[in-house]
Subunit: 487 residues, 2 copies
């Protein structure tokens, strides 16, 4: 425990305060909630010049990348704000009483909607100090859903976390949000204590498989288990068909390297394994690529984890180094690409398909395209899987559906890094990519993680929440007697 | 292990076969899936006269109740079939590529839909040998979602389980469904083995807190944790306001007794605790009620559990027996109502608010209506909570929203038993009522438990599933570029 860490007593107070704020925020009109999200977005933009330098210093990420990330962060807050009024996310269902309901017994008046799940604990990630941290996607979707947020800061950027927290808290206060709606804690022990607190009703996490699974295990072992939405790790394999390789070996090599080395490879969707046809020229093109020079990673833990995973790959019999970035004389690790045959992969698939978090990837040469189906079938759960192919490649007819069994997002002739915030985005896949296979942590569907349903039976109009009243006072999309009705 | 139990080898074969059937069923057109569900419903109705006598013999439930339950069972299969074509349950989102996406980077073409989660393991309940058993709600929603089902039969009605399985399997085969789409296993060990099998991708359960939590713990401790939808237990408190009690003490007493003793109290929504104002006359009315005579419960385990929970309640200092059903001279347990003051409840709330599964309930007398808020705040998670009140009762303004924090369904002047199958039904609440607070096991929203999202990025039309193609060939509800569009 460092001086900065939040004490046990303080954690307990924070959870209590969050519970009171949650109850109040839940009763706040949806339009006011949307305004508060917009206010946070505006404040983040306004404080960019103050926040970006702290982020640069604490994370070693480039200014342009951080400015882009902050733009993405305020954008997703605004997008949730814009989504709220339509109301389909509330999943309102109204069944009027029906004496002749064919089930054999009269149907009562039943009205159901989703509402906030309660205080949500968000564990910030190291690699996106804005977009998956203090005011990132998990916070945005939990607040949008109507919950208070307790944010466990990442130890890799503590100053930035506090500075961003100040911006968020002031903006929320200015928009009239309840006190304690957003609070930040520091330290692993504080995070675990908050996760065990009866007042915590859901948790979200982005990080490593080991850390995420440990927290998941705590969440589901509580006397009252709570949903734990962990986005853990992914190798994000990409499969190049023979014809695609013949058509544009140099373009594929160039774009692959850009995707592997962007943000120094510290992205959950970095394509970590590339399957290419033997003798296609891609390997030679990759060998000729100039990789970026050595660079400091996010923090010491990430650097040593990267070194270990790279060493493990290098140690496998049959793996050779294809190309590496120049050593800059410092301790910073160099980007590196490895190559191996599909036979080598088969011999130690566990090691070679493990995530190397940082600027490294493995290129696997295959002899026959049918091997792609074989390896697709052996994949663990993935955030993404990519095919680089020609539109009439026969292998794709089988390979693409097979990849949807293993990955949350499948791509065609694009690279998986750069996860756009949109209505249809899906960032989450089968375990270990995610601990909750039905969820996404990016895009508008992320809000559903922090909601729970309540039905009202035979309740008088005056006691119903507005979303369920006759006459649709909120003007939202609703299902009435089974029919979906747009306002 | 009895002779009837499914062997380990056989369980493994069944899971493998289910995996193959799941893959095929997933590719089956939605309209054909709907026809198969209808075929099962028709077959169940046609075999009623064969199935009902077996159910009577194995469960001791009355014929009329069982016939009603079977009608409900075929009804919910048909309702899922009817729901499928509209397609909102697929949650289709199509974002066309947009070079000017305000996030700061171009938006790719992204298309997302929900699809089947994979082989689903369903643990049947004892108390609804049709509606929450072989062809019950969990099976119906898992099949509707596109998954194969492996059904762990309840040991309380093994013959009925096999007879119903034969009907379901024949109907599915007749409708052209893949072989192995629905299979039944017997025995606790077989159920645990299936739950641990890598091929099982989700599980659903209705039963006791102890049994459900044990299975939940197994599901979340797997190397690959899977979602476990357990509907466990509930006390279903009902709160009578002073004015309601003054208005109709005898009607309340009569309806409460009917709700407590119907199906011998063996319903998850039986109102187990009734709060009534001291001196209101309801207690006297209840004392005067004629309870049904002693009756055999579902099976020996249920009977002994009932006796134990009744004995624990009776043993609490200050609890008195209000009225009991006549002893029929057999070993069968008698219905019983207990009474206690709110002070007695406070002294041992854990025992007195525990579920007594069977024909028993506790009546708690309160002095001041504000005590209702106090006890509402102390509740564990509930399937239901009920207010018997007058429309302008001031206490309801606070009590009703407070109950929505603790229960999945709140009722006004109706009793919680008799869970209608409708669009808006919600059967599930905070733990221990349910292990997954965001879910329901009854009603049309039950299908969402067995789905997972997949996004397709930049995928050519010819490789997209029909739901995501331009031109909307399935004619379903979709969200296109953020706008919800009805076909």
């Amino acid at each position: 425990m460092t001086l900065h860490d939040t004490s046990d007593d303080r954690v307990d107070q924070i959870i209590d305060r969050a519970g009171r704020a949650s109850a109040q925020w839940k009763r706040t009109a949806i339009a006011d909630r949307a305004r508060a999200l917009d206010a946070v977005a505006d404040a983040l933009d306004q404080h960019a010049d103050e926040l970006i330098p702290i982020a640069q210093r604490e994370t070693h990420l480039a200014e342009a990348r951080l400015r882009g990330e902050l733009r993405r962060t305020s954008f997703q807050l605004r997008m949730f704000a814009e989504m709220l009024p339509e109301g389909l996310w509330l999943d309102v269902r109204i069944d009027h009483a029906d004496a002749d309901w064919p089930m054999g017994a009269p149907r009562p008046d039943l009205r159901r909607q989703l509402g906030p799940i309660g205080t949500t604990l968000v564990f910030a990630a190291s690699n996106f100090p804005f977009a998956f941290s203090v005011a990132g996607g998990d916070t945005a979707s939990a607040l949008a859903a109507g919950n208070a947020v307790v944010l466990k800061a990442h130890h890799g950027h503590p100053e930035l976390s506090d500075a961003t927290t100040d911006v968020v808290v002031a903006a929320l206060a200015g928009a009239g949000a309840p006190e304690g709606l957003f609070q930040t804690i520091h330290g692993t022990d504080a995070g675990v204590r908050a996760l065990r607190a009866p007042g915590a009703k859901a948790a979200a996490f982005t990080g490593s498989v080991r850390g995420g699974r440990a927290l998941f295990d705590i969440a589901v072992s509580r006397p009252e288990p709570i949903p734990f939405y962990g986005e853990l790790g992914s190798t994000n394999p990409a499969f190049v068909t023979r014809r695609a390789a013949e058509k544009d070996a140099s373009g594929i090599a160039r774009d692959f390297v850009a995707s592997v080395t962007g943000s120094a490879g510290q992205l959950c969707t970095k394509p970590g394994v590339l399957f290419v046809p033997a003798g296609s020229g891609i390997v030679a093109e990759l060998e000729a690529q100039q990789l970026p020079a050595a660079t400091s990673l996010l923090n010491g833990g990430i650097e040593s984890g990267f070194r270990d995973s790279v060493a493990a790959t290098r140690a496998v019999d049959g793996v050779r180094t294809l190309t590496a970035g120049a050593d800059d004389g410092s301790d910073a690790p160099s980007p590196v690409l490895f190559a191996a045959s599909s036979e080598t992969l088969r011999a130690d698939i566990h090691t070679l398909m493990s995530e190397m978090f940082g600027p490294a990837a493995l290129v696997v040469t295959y002899d026959d395209e049918s091997e792609l189906l074989e390896f697709a079938d052996l994949l663990e759960g993935q955030l993404t899987a990519t095919i680089i192919g020609e539109d009439d490649d026969e292998i794709a007819v089988d390979l693409l559906p097979q990849l949807t069994e293993r990955a949350g997002r499948v791509l065609w002739n694009q690279w998986p890094t750069g996860v756009s915030v949109t209505w249809a985005q899906q960032h989450g896949g089968p375990y270990p990519a995610t601990t909750a296979v039905g969820s996404t942590s990016v895009g508008m569907a992320a809000i559903t993680r922090f909601l729970r349903p309540v039905a009202y039976q035979n309740v008088p109009q005056g006691l119903l929440p507005d979303a369920l009243k006759e006459g649709n006072p909120l003007g939202i999309v609703r299902r009435v007697d089974g029919i979906l009705i747009l306002p």
